[in-house]
C-alpha cells in the first residue's frame, strides 16, 4: 500500500439490502484524481445510502470500497482524514453563529479567520456572519454548511444534495468550488435532483436502479 | 361578512421585521379564485416567514391579511378550516406507515382508504404504503406529505418548497394536483427554487427583496 499522491476511489461489486428489499447490487465504479461522480436515481434508489457507505457511516453492505487501492475498513482512520461528508441536513450548531460554526471545521484544517470570512462573503452571507444559525433561513444555513468547501483540503468530497434550498444566484460560487476541487486533483461524489446538464461540470454519472 | 363561494385572499401593506433587520414591507397582493401565487426571492428574503404569516402561525407583522374580505385574525377558526399548510419539513410521524399518516389527515376531510391508496400509488409509493416513514428516503417522505394534496378540499393551499428532494419524475403528478386545485377555483401560494418557467402553470409572481 503505497501512499500515492494521486488519490483513487474504487467501488467493487457493492451490494446493499434494506429490510427485505434489495436496494442496489453489483455497483462498480472507478474514480481517479480530478473526477466528479454524479450519483443519480429516483427517490429511494439508494443515493444517500451509497454516500453513507462511502463515508464509512454505514456498514451493512457486501462488496468492497477501495481508497488508493486499500479497503476503507482496513485503513479507516487514514481514510477518514481524507473525506469531507455533507449529509441531507447541514451539520451546524443552532446556538453558534455562522463564523463560530465554521471555525471548528477550520481548525480541523488550520485555516485563518480571514479565509472563513471571505468564504462566507463569497456565499453572500457577509451580513449574517454573527447571528446564531437558527435565525438563518433554510437556504442560508445550507450556504453556511457549504462554506466548508471553500477551504477544505480533503481529497474526497461526499455531498448529498448540496443544492437543496439554494436559490438560482447561489449556484455559481458552489460550482466554482467543485471545479477547483477537481482541478486540484481531488475527487467528488455528489447527488442532486437539479439536472447536471445546465451546470457545466465535467462528470461521470452513476445511475442507481429505481426502487421497486 | 358574506360567506362568498368565490374565495379571495388579499394582502394589504404587509410589513415584517426580524430582529433589527427589515425583512419586507409594503407587500400588497390580491388573489382571486383559481389563481396561483409564486412567492420568489433569494435565500433569506422572507418567503417562509410570509407563508407562516398567511397560515396564521406567526403574528409579529403589521398590515393585514384578508380572507374573503375579512381579516384572518378576526375569523381565525373559520379561516383555519380553509387552509392547508405544508412547511419546510413534511409533518409525518416516523413510527407510523405512510398510509396511517395519511389516514389522520384524511379523517379530517373524511376520505376513504381507497382514495388514500390511490393517492400514494399516483405518487409512486405503492410498495411503500406499509413501512414506517422513518425508513423512507427524503424524497419518499416528501411525496407522502404531498399525497395530502390529492384529496384535500381546502380552498387555500400554502406550500413551502413542495418540490424539495423530489426527482424529475415526481413533478408531473404534483403539478397535476396544482392545476386541479386552480381549476376547482381554489387558491395556491407556493415558494420554490425550481424555476417556474419550465413547469407550465398559470401563475402570478410576488418577488420579495433580497435580504441585505
Amino acid at each position: 500500500m503505497t501512499a500515492c499522491l494521486q488519490p483513487s476511489l474504487q467501488i467493487e461489486n457493492l451490494h446493499c439490502d434494506k429490510g427485505q428489499q434489495r436496494l442496489f447490487s453489483g455497483v462498480d465504479c472507478l474514480l481517479n484524481a480530478g473526477e466528479l461522480l454524479h450519483v443519480s436515481g429516483e427517490n429511494g434508489s439508494g443515493k444517500t445510502t451509497l454516500l453513507r457507505i462511502l463515508a464509512g457511516l454505514s456498514r451493512d453492505y457486501t462488496g468492497s470500497v477501495l481508497w488508493n487501492g486499500d479497503n476503507i475498513r482496513q485503513q479507516w482512520p487514514v481514510y477518514a482524514q481524507d473525506i469531507l461528508f455533507l449529509g441531507h441536513q447541514p451539520a451546524l450548531k443552532a446556538q453558534l453563529t455562522a463564523r463560530e460554526n465554521l471555525q471548528w471545521y477550520a481548525r480541523c484544517a488550520d485555516v485563518t479567520d480571514e479565509q472563513i470570512d471571505s468564504a462566507l462573503q463569497a456565499l453572500g452571507l457577509r451580513s449574517k456572519t454573527d447571528i446564531p444559525c437558527h435565525q438563518l433561513s433554510a437556504g442560508q444555513q445550507r450556504r453556511t454548511a457549504l462554506a466548508r468547501l471553500m477551504f477544505s483540503r480533503h481529497k474526497l468530497w461526499l455531498l448529498d444534495e448540496p443544492f437543496t434550498a439554494i436559490d438560482a444566484k447561489g449556484f455559481a460560487p458552489i460550482l466554482q468550488c467543485l471545479r477547483l476541487q477537481i482541478e486540484r486533483g481531488g475527487i467528488v461524489v455528489m447527488t442532486t435532483h437539479h439536472g447536471m446538464e445546465n451546470m457545466d461540470l465535467p462528470h461521470k454519472t452513476l445511475t442507481l436502479g429505481a426502487a421497486a | 361578512m358574506t360567506a362568498c363561494l368565490q374565495p379571495s385572499l388579499q394582502i394589504e401593506n404587509l410589513h415584517c421585521d426580524k430582529g433589527q433587520q427589515r425583512l419586507f414591507s409594503g407587500v400588497d397582493c390580491l388573489l382571486n379564485a383559481g389563481e396561483l401565487l409564486h412567492v420568489s426571492g433569494e435565500n433569506g428574503s422572507g418567503k417562509t416567514t410570509l407563508l407562516r404569516i398567511l397560515a396564521g402561525l406567526s403574528r409579529d407583522y403589521t398590515g393585514s391579511v384578508l380572507w374573503n374580505g375579512d381579516n384572518i385574525r378576526q375569523q381565525w377558526p373559520v379561516y383555519a378550516q380553509d387552509i392547508l399548510f405544508l412547511g419546510h419539513q413534511p409533518a409525518l410521524k416516523a413510527q407510523l406507515t405512510a398510509r396511517e399518516n395519511l389516514q389522520w389527515y384524511a379523517r379530517c376531510a373524511d376520505v376513504t382508504d381507497e382514495q388514500i391508496d390511490s393517492a400514494l400509488q399516483a405518487l409512486g409509493l405503492r410498495s411503500k404504503t406499509d413501512i414506517p416513514c422513518h425508513q423512507l428516503s427524503a424524497g419518499q417522505q416528501r411525496r407522502t406529505a404531498l399525497a395530502r394534496l390529492m384529496f384535500s378540499r381546502h380552498k387555500l393551499w400554502l406550500l413551502d418548497e413542495p418540490f424539495t428532494a423530489i426527482d424529475a419524475k415526481g413533478f408531473a403528478p404534483i403539478l397535476q394536483c396544482l392545476r386541479l386545485q386552480i381549476e376547482r377555483g381554489g387558491i395556491v401560494v407556493m415558494t420554490t427554487h425550481h424555476g417556474m418557467e419550465n413547469m407550465d402553470l398559470p401563475h402570478k409572481t410576488l418577488t420579495l427583496g433580497a435580504a441585505a
Partner: protein, 257 residues
C-alpha cells in the same frame, strides 16, 4: 507443531462458523430438542416429587423450607443467565454473528423471568421464615439490581427500530453490566454488613442435610436443562422470524409439506 496448531485453530473455526450459521443450528437444535426436553422432564419431576414428598421435614422451618427446591435453582440460573447473555453479546460484537445476537435477545426475557421468579419464591419463603415479604438482605438486593439490569437490556434492545443496532447496543450494555456485576455485588454486600442490625441474614437458612441435598442437586441440574430448552425454543422462534423469507427456510418448509 505449527502445522498442528493451525489445524486445531482451523477446526475450531469451522466448528464456530457451523454454529454461527442459522440453517445448521436450526436443524441441529431441532434434532436435539426432543431428547433435552424429555431429560428435563424426568429430572424435574423426580426432583420435585422427591423434594416435596420424601425429603424429611426441616427441623426449624417445617415444610415451608421445601420451596428451596424451586428457589435455589431459579436463583442460580438467574445469575448464570446474565453471564451467558453477555457472552453472546461479546461474540456477536466481535464476529458480527447474527445468531449470537439472537441468543442475547432470546436469553434476556428468560433471565428476567427467572430473576423475577427468584424474587417471588424468595419473598414467599421470607413470609414464614422472616415474617415479612421483603427484606433488604444483600443477596436479595443484588437480585433486584440484576432484575433491573435485565430490564435495561430488554428495553434497549427493543427501543431501536433497526434491529441490528438494537442488538449491538444491547450487547454493549450487557457487557458493561457484566463488568459491573461483581462491583455491584461486592458493594451491596459491604453496604448490607454496614446495616447488619436491621436485617436478618440469609444464613439463617437451613443447613442442608444430604437427604435434602440430593433432590436439590437434581432440581438444579433439571433447571439448567430447562433453561437450555427454553433458550433453544425462544431462539428458534427468533430464527424463524428473522429468516422468514430466506431460501433455506422456504426449502425446509416445502420439504415439511
Amino acid at each position: 507443531m505449527l502445522e498442528n496448531k493451525y489445524n486445531v485453530f482451523s477446526i475450531l473455526k469451522t466448528w464456530f462458523h457451523r454454529w454461527g450459521s442459522p440453517p445448521w443450528f436450526y436443524q441441529m437444535s431441532g434434532k436435539l430438542l426432543p431428547w433435552l426436553s424429555v431429560l428435563t422432564a424426568i429430572l424435574i419431576v423426580t426432583g420435585t416429587v422427591w423434594g416435596l414428598a420424601f425429603a424429611p421435614e426441616d427441623a426449624r422451618q417445617g415444610n415451608s423450607f421445601r420451596i428451596i427446591y424451586l428457589h435455589v435453582p431459579v436463583s442460580f440460573l438467574a445469575l448464570a443467565g446474565y453471564y451467558l447473555m453477555a457472552l453472546a453479546g461479546c461474540i456477536g460484537l466481535i464476529w458480527r454473528m447474527k445468531l449470537a445476537f439472537w441468543t442475547l435477545r432470546a436469553a434476556a426475557p428468560i433471565g428476567a423471568a427467572l430473576t423475577f421468579l427468584a424474587l417471588v419464591t424468595g419473598s414467599i419463603w421470607g413470609k414464614p421464615t422472616w415474617g415479612t415479604w421483603w427484606e433488604w438482605d444483600a443477596r436479595i438486593t443484588s437480585m433486584l439490581i440484576l432484575f433491573f439490569l435485565y430490564l435495561g437490556v430488554m428495553a434497549l434492545a427493543n427501543a431501536y427500530q433497526n434491529s441490528d443496532s438494537g442488538n449491538r447496543a444491547a450487547s454493549v450494555l450487557a457487557i458493561v453490566g457484566m463488568v459491573n456485576i461483581p462491583i455491584i455485588y461486592k458493594s451491596v454486600d459491604w453496604w448490607n454488613t454496614l446495616h447488619q442490625g436491621a436485617s436478618l441474614k440469609l444464613t439463617s437458612a437451613p443447613t442442608i442435610h444430604g437427604t435434602m441435598l440430593y433432590p436439590l442437586l437434581i432440581m438444579i441440574a433439571g433447571f439448567y436443562l430447562l433453561y437450555a430448552v427454553l433458550l433453544l425454543l425462544n431462539l428458534r422462534c427468533d430464527i424463524l422470524a428473522n429468516e422468514r423469507n430466506s431460501r433455506w427456510l422456504q426449502d425446509l418448509l416445502r420439504e415439511k409439506r
